[in-house]
């Protein structure tokens, strides 16, 4: 049926397809409608050949050579695309590290006793982080250590004598040397962002390779921001451990006060989750069955990992949560929140609440959130949601009856703890032995977003299906994790069906050693997008155990449906860490032949990592397997014959 085919071209998630049809019936414009209206998209922007960095522009270079071959200033196509890519990396870095800085300020307030709402939930992690940073811990109270850690974190933002600690102390020694030799160690997170803005200004850096190296250094600063965000979130809110929960629109409840928390930082969302039980009686008094909190995007990942809160939906389908008509409030902080949610919320009678000074949306109600009055602000949000429920309660809702069981919460600490049930002395040994024996062929991390240009989740699920069958251990973060969880890839009941025999046996052995009575889920959920740091931490631990550099490991990454500039900066640090990194949508660099060659090939000679850009998930899976096998061969390990 043409209609069904059309719907499949938008989303492979059946719950989302139901809501797309409902939105069409109600004449509500969605992201897919706006995409259609935007097509055809401009080829110059698509290939990176449009520059607006100065007021003599806009300039565009004709990739077919008939029109201008250089910008008005004389910038070549390669200069233009390298500058554009650098600015994307800087934006992504600014966002991740802005999130981290926010947490660092909170930790500082906790240490100084200026906020009663937050506390050090994980003193063990605080001490582990402090020890890594060379901050003394012996015999010192938590608050003193926290003060030093918070100050060290904030000091990492500006240019200083020492390198960025959250970069220099988180990689293995061999990688630290590679990065030092290439001058890729950042001198300050904000400094690197600022330097990208400087060097990409009119008339500064015109050397494409020099620009790309600057971009990679900023990418390493992004790793620092991500790692810092994960560290401090764990200290303040707890280290995630495996939890059983569920995902998809079916987690909304018609009779409950439904509140979706959307965005990124756990600062606000964790507080709302913690306060929810205190307001449940009020919700019941309002005629509801209770308060039902669900997550969207990485906020969803944060509260799922730590509290088992179900995930409602992710990324490109965020509007669809509102289209159900069942959402009483959508509470957002920053990043990946489409401004369109305001008009959809208006149509459906949902209260949209913005909370951050830097993230206001016309049409939303703004409640300025701060750590000092976190409890009061949380209660104000609950009041709005309950008032909304009173208005909504007798109106029809349309909640797709679709949800999937999910086991989430695989922090590195949780993984090591699970493995130590197999080998208490050397927990990584069972994994490494299985990699050597070929039961685990390699490891792939899925990260990033859902892009409207891809049928939602299709690239993730097609590649993951193929890799799991080939015994690749699959990790996932961000909305990549969201995609895979909504399609059952985090349900242990599907491990046998999805995984190859070798991987199946390993997941079962770990699961049974941990008293789960069955295997681990096929895909391990490692958290939000800043939590790509957890995947780096795991790779570094394995590299250290083996005594090799990270670029020798059979580890690959894929941002199969990337959208945000944050995905670009994550890709940059994955390449800087030495990983073959797949991107499943086109990066705007194709207009620069030299830049394209460097990113997909030549950079390999420097960091060992490189980009694989392939829009076809089937062939992308083959390329990722080939990259894994190439690394296995480098370690003297055999690979199975191609099946």
């Amino acid at each position: 049926m043409a209609g069904e085919r059309d719907a499949m071209s938008k989303s492979t998630d059946p719950a989302i397809r139901e809501m797309i049809a409902r939105a069409a019936r109600m004449e509500i414009k969605t992201v897919w409608d706006r995409y259609e209206a935007m097509r055809p998209q401009c080829g110059f922007g698509d290939t990176g050949l449009c520059c607006r960095h100065c007021l003599q522009g806009p300039c565009r270079i004709d990739p077919f050579g008939e029109g201008p071959a250089e910008g008005i200033c004389g910038a070549s196509a390669d200069t233009m695309v390298a500058r554009g890519l650098d600015r994307a990396i800087a934006a992504g870095t600014a966002a991740h590290s802005g999130h981290a800085k926010h947490l660092a300020h909170t930790l500082l307030k906790v240490a100084k006793g200026r906020t009663g709402a937050y506390s050090i939930k994980e003193p063990g992690k605080l001490r582990a982080v402090a020890a890594r940073l060379n901050i003394p811990v012996e015999g010192r109270p938590d608050n003193d250590i926290a003060l030093d850690v918070a100050n060290a974190a904030l000091a990492d933002f500006h240019e200083k004598e020492t390198p960025v600690l959250w970069a220099a102390t988180v990689v293995n020694p061999q990688r630290a040397k590679v990065l030092t030799d290439l001058d890729l160690v950042p001198r300050g997170i904000d400094h690197e962002v600022s330097e990208i803005m400087h060097r990409t200004l009119y008339g500064v850096d015109a050397d494409p390779v020099n620009l790309l190296l600057g971009g990679l250094r900023c990418g390493v600063a992004d790793l620092a921001g991500c790692y810092m965000a994960t560290d401090i979130a764990d200290i303040l809110f707890g280290i995630p451990t495996p939890v059983v929960t569920e995902a998809n629109l079916g987690t909304l409840k018609a009779g409950a006060v439904n509140i979706a928390l959307h965005g990124h930082n756990p600062l606000l969302s964790d507080m709302l989750v913690a306060r929810a039980h205190t307001r449940n009686e009020d919700a019941i008094a309002a005629g509801a069955s209770g308060i039902n909190i669900v997550g969207i995007c990485c906020t969803g990942n944060e509260i799922m990992m730590r509290h088992g809160i179900p995930a409602c939906t992710h990324s490109v389908s965020q509007e669809m949560a509102i289209v159900t008509g069942a959402l009483d409030a959508m509470v957002v902080d920053y990043q990946c929140i489409m401004p369109s949610v305001a008009s959809v919320a208006e149509c459906m009678g949902t209260a949209l609440i913005t909370t951050m000074e830097i993230g206001k949306i016309p049409g939303a109600r703004h409640i300025a959130f701060d750590e000092e009055s976190a409890v009061e602000k949380a209660d104000e949000i609950f009041d709005i949601a309950m008032a909304n429920f009173r208005r909504r309660k007798n109106k029809p809702v349309d909640i797709p009856n679709i949800k999937t069981p999910v086991v989430a919460g695989f922090s590195v600490e949780a993984i090591v703890a699970a493995l130590s049930k197999l080998d208490a002395r050397e927990p990584l040994k069972p994994v490494v032995d299985n990699i050597v024996a070929g039961n685990i062929r390699g490891v792939c991390l899925f990260a990033g977003c859902n892009n409207v240009k891809v049928p939602q989740d299709n690239n993730f699920t097609v590649i993951a299906r193929k890799l799991l069958k080939e015994n690749v251990l699959v990790l996932a973060t961000g909305c990549g994790a969201g995609a895979l969880m909504r399609h059952g890839f985090m349900d242990p009941a599907n491990t046998d069906a999805l995984c190859g025999d070798g991987l199946k046996a390993v997941l079962r052995a770990i699961g049974e050693a941990n008293g789960l009575g069955g295997p681990l889920p096929p895909v391990l959920h490692m958290g939000s997008c800043v939590d790509n740091s957890r995947a780096v931490a795991l790779a570094v631990a394995v590299a250290n155990y083996l005594g090799v550099d990270t670029d020798k490991l059979p580890v690959v990454a894929s941002a199969a449906e990337a959208v945000s500039e944050k995905a670009v900066s994550i890709g940059a640090y994955a390449v800087a860490a030495g990983l073959p990194t797949h991107v499943g949508v086109m990066l705007p660099v194709l207009g620069g032949p030299l830049v394209t060659r460097v990113l997909t090939d030549k950079v390999k000679d420097l960091t060992g990592g490189y980009f694989i850009v392939d829009l076809d998930p089937e062939s992308a899976a083959e390329k990722l397997l080939a990259a894994i096998d190439e690394r296995r061969a480098g370690l003297g390990l055999q690979s199975p014959k191609a099946s």
Binding site: F44, D62, F64
Partner: protein, 167 residues
């Protein structure tokens, strides 16, 4: 037979983005995709040209004239009109004498250096709507019959005379 369609330009709408040129080159490439075309050799060539008069962009493309000077002038008999009214240059017959270029009042016939042949707009025989028209973000390029285009212009003009929008 239904009235053939022409490519018309609504000059007031053109933003000068050159998207029509890109789309034209891609349509006349081997891969027919931007990502593939960008690295092809010989480079795919656009047949539509966005000129600039003072600061106003003007897209120019072969008008496929009813009384086509190029067709009359072609000494090799390489230029003919298809059943759909499209004036085409047959590469295998073109001897590269550039007489067509000399007589074309619009200057929209190009020289293919690698193939030593003349080339021009072929109205995208594989497409329902020519690629340049499909690529125009402001709908400055439209593909309509003369009757339709004129009727639309008359309606707009009439509305303006009455001082109202549409009607």
């Amino acid at each position: 037979m239904s009235e053939p369609k022409e490519i018309f330009v609504r000059l007031d709408r053109c933003m000068g983005c050159h998207s029509c040129e890109l789309a034209c080159a891609v349509e006349h490439s081997g891969s027919k995709s931007l990502y593939g075309a960008i690295s092809e050799q010989p480079r795919p060539k656009p047949r539509v040209y966005v000129e600039s008069v003072s600061k106003t962009p003007v897209p120019v493309v072969c008008r496929h004239c009813e009384d086509a000077p190029c067709m009359h002038a072609c000494i090799a008999g390489a230029i003919r009109r298809t059943e759909d009214g499209v004036v085409i240059t047959q590469s295998d017959r073109c001897i590269g004498c550039w007489t067509c270029v000399m007589v074309c009042p619009y200057g929209v016939i190009g020289r293919h250096l690698e193939e030593h042949k003349a080339y021009r707009c072929d109205r995208c025989p594989d497409r329902e709507i020519p690629a340049c028209v499909g690529a125009c973000p402001t709908r400055a390029l439209v593909y309509r019959s003369v009757t339709d285009f004129s009727r639309h212009t008359r309606k707009t003009a009439s509305a303006q005379m009455l001082g109202t929008q549409g009607g």
